[in-house]
Symmetry: C2
Subunit: 481 residues, 2 copies
């Protein structure tokens, strides 16, 4: 009998081509080990609550009340919920038509989109139009929708940083497009070089690829760098010259661990540049409730804002969003709460500030502990995590380790990460899942393990690594730069 | 300058080809009128809470507590929440790793998938494997993922009933596949004729299309029929013979308004048929928390169960699901609560039964009121709504009305529905959005307006319709059958 449509041989090839390392071999092996009773430290996904971060109290109170609107009529509600949470729940319910159980408009609740626009205006100092803001089930869904509009076939290319977050490579494969890599420069703290960008585009063109869009991740994932205003300006000028849509993945905009270079949005830089850029460059920027000090990953809330996208295209994106009816409504309320937070004087304000500052300051300390820890290990070098939630150390694998990996049928960094997992329970993602230069190896870990566990984790990492290096190094030593 | 990637001319053509009438011209016009202050009765989407249906208390209590886990340590929690809701919240939180704020496994929380499997086993009397059940953000997302694996290009066809729910036509367009229509027979209460199916396949083949899958919607949307066991058996045998994957959209399985023909799942019928069918036919079945007496559309919770899908394919689907990390977690809890409801003796059991029975019985009365109402109108005939949430009356438009529509540049049923909207505020979806035979016209309305409003709505409809018919009919009368 002929293969059936859902037999592996017969499936859509684009599906099979997709690679998704964040939940790939390492994650699957870690899940197995966990089932067998081994203690696993999951640092493969930026999933703070899974590693013990507690949710912010106030937004959870508001959403709990929105889920249980009958409590708003209960005379005892004030015993367990503060008055400002009750008021906010009433506010958000009044913005819905039918509460959390009704589909919203496919673009999201108009009142919440208005609050997002006000947030962007305050952040950037430029007007923002709620009609050009769509709420989504997490930022990923917005990225996928946007790329779906951009990519028409394998002749269409999208510039993606290497290393990159595999959402981009996976989505481009799934949509049958072509990924055009540009390399971030590790020795320049993962900076972005415009000359390198131009070369990537030229190379893609020589292969017959039309480069149509460019992705930046700022702050960087997995690389942790913050792009400077000057660098963003160069990028936007480049997009203008090359006629590229810019996808600005700005989901880590609240996660900044140094004071020298605050987050600046692509939208603000574009508006600052003035004409012709501010009216010409097509920009789609993404944000989420999953990161920042919220870390509400499981809620799946995000938005994207479109700049210089023509109304007819906005209508098409609206139509596509409508196929799945609406993003989940509870996460839309979280988004409202994120962009329109408590103000000084509100009853819950001090608690909210204490909780959110506590998380951010601890992340900053953890970024430092982790980077320093990696840099104290044999054959490991690591740029400081300026932002986002990850460390991306380079692991200088000795030739004998690379040979051993080959004998085991593994990519060298996968081999290293599997050995690390078996020895210590630390579940990381090999650098090959994000892309890296030929012959150079990394791993990605989140900086999210609980602060009190961090010294023991880094010690356990160092013990494994240094023994691994000892095992595979020539006695003459190994000194590749 | 060349068009930019997100200029309309330059976008992915598959995006532009998508049609999505449920939120199309009628919906947009209704939204405009609402902004202008007109009272609109939105019957375009099966969105019960938007039309005043109140959520079931118990599941909302449980999810509210899961959102506010700190309440579980509050000595006063028992003042506003019953003990069984507290116990259930603890149960579901124990199944997560990190509560509602953490991404779950991309397939959904293992413990909830186990509860779904137990539900299916009780329903069908056959084993169900949690590893073959994936939770999704509403059933739509699961349908889109499945079709994404099936469709490789325009040479791949999917059999879709006409009239159909436009999720299918829209997704097939977006994925660049070919829709192969098969017609449901209105005069046989929207039954499905196997000979017609065979003709559809033969016709598609003659055009060079490989038919790879078939969609059934049972109970039907927009048509409201329930498929008999004998009919399902024929369909499954047909899928076996023609080597087709069956997509069983069973989201309305709790919405049954007659006693003669209970819902039977495709999975049960397939297992009943025994070898070779039960081991050969590839089946994916879909369910949701959006319908039934829950109507929790805004939460976006669903699942799909795979039968006879090889493990390598399941791995591929898992990988694709991983790109967007995880379905939203709160809706996974709703799914657990739906498939594992309260039992006699639980504190909240009686209230739960009272609320859910109240909703279902009212829907049954409304289905009757609506069908009878339509059948009392001039030139309108309507099959009884046996299940689901819709009425799909045929509107026999007089030739002069069809001419008037042409002059206005509108499809005739769109013309009628727009006039209905302007005159009465009732926002329906024209039959052309679902597909219908040439020269035959329908509209779809949900049966969801509040029961107490129903007589006035049907009266207002009748007044509009009968005047419309009066206006456009020859004085000699119009009697097309």
């Amino acid at each position: 009998m002929a293969p059936k449509a859902l037999d592996y041989e017969s499936m859509n090839e684009n599906v099979k081509k997709v690679q998704y390392a964040v939940r790939g071999e390492l994650y699957l092996r870690a899940s197995e080990l966990q089932k067998e009773g081994k203690k696993i430290i999951f640092t493969n996904v930026g999933n703070p609550h899974a590693l013990g971060q507690r949710p912010l109290t106030f937004p959870r109170q508001v959403v709990a009340l929105c889920q249980a609107p009958f409590l708003l009529d209960d005379p005892n509600v004030g015993i367990v919920f503060p008055a400002d949470a009750i008021a906010r729940a009433k506010h958000y319910l009044s913005l819905t038509s039918g509460g959390l159980g009704a589909y919203s408009d496919s673009r999201g609740i108009p009142g919440v989109r208005k609050e997002v626009a006000e947030f962007i205006e305050r952040r950037d100092g430029y007007p923002s139009d709620p009609e050009l803001i769509f709420l989504t089930d997490g930022a990923s869904k917005g990225v996928m929708q946007t790329l779906n509009c951009v990519i028409r076939g394998e002749g269409d290319g999208v510039l993606v940083p290497v290393p990159q977050y595999p959402l981009y490579s996976a989505t481009i494969s799934l949509l049958g497009g072509s990924l055009v890599p540009y390399y971030l420069e590790e020795t320049a703290n993962w900076g972005l070089d415009i000359i390198d960008l131009q070369q990537s585009v030229a190379q893609a063109r020589s292969k017959g690829i039309t480069v149509r869009a460019m992705v930046i991740i700022n702050p960087g994932n997995p690389t942790g760098q913050c792009l400077s205003e000057a660098n963003l300006r160069e990028i936007l000028r480049f997009c203008y010259q090359e006629n590229l849509v810019l996808l600005g993945d700005e989901v880590y905009q609240q996660n900044i661990y140094q004071d020298e270079r605050p987050f600046v949005s692509s939208k603000k830089v574009l508006m600052d540049m003035g004409l012709p850029f501010s009216k010409e460059v097509q920009l789609v920027s993404f944000h989420t409730v999953s990161k920042g000090y919220w870390g509400e990953c499981g809620q799946r809330g995000g938005y994207f804002e479109m700049t210089n996208i023509p109304p007819k295209t906005v209508d098409e994106i609206y139509k596509i969003a409508s196929i799945a009816l609406s993003p989940n409504v509870p996460a839309q309320i979280f988004m409202g709460l994120m962009v329109n937070p408590l103000k000084p004087g509100d009853i819950s304000y001090e608690q909210f500030v204490r909780e959110s500052k506590g998380i951010l300051e601890s992340l900053r300390r953890r970024a430092r502990m982790m980077t320093d820890g990696f840099n104290s290990c044999r054959n490991v070098v690591c740029n400081f995590t300026e932002g986002a939630m990850y460390s991306f150390p380079q692991i200088r694998l000795p030739p004998k380790a690379i040979e051993a990996a080959k004998r085991a049928g593994k990519v060298p960094d996968v081999f290293y990460c599997l050995r690390l997992l078996e020895a210590t329970g630390i579940s990381t993602v090999p650098g090959s899942g994000f892309g890296q230069k030929e012959g150079v190896f990394h791993l990605r870990t989140t900086i999210l393990p609980a602060e009190e566990d961090m010294p023991a984790i880094m010690e356990s990492f160092k013990k494994f690594n240094d023994e691994f290096m000892e095992q595979y190094e020539d006695y003459r030593g190994y000194s590749r730069m």
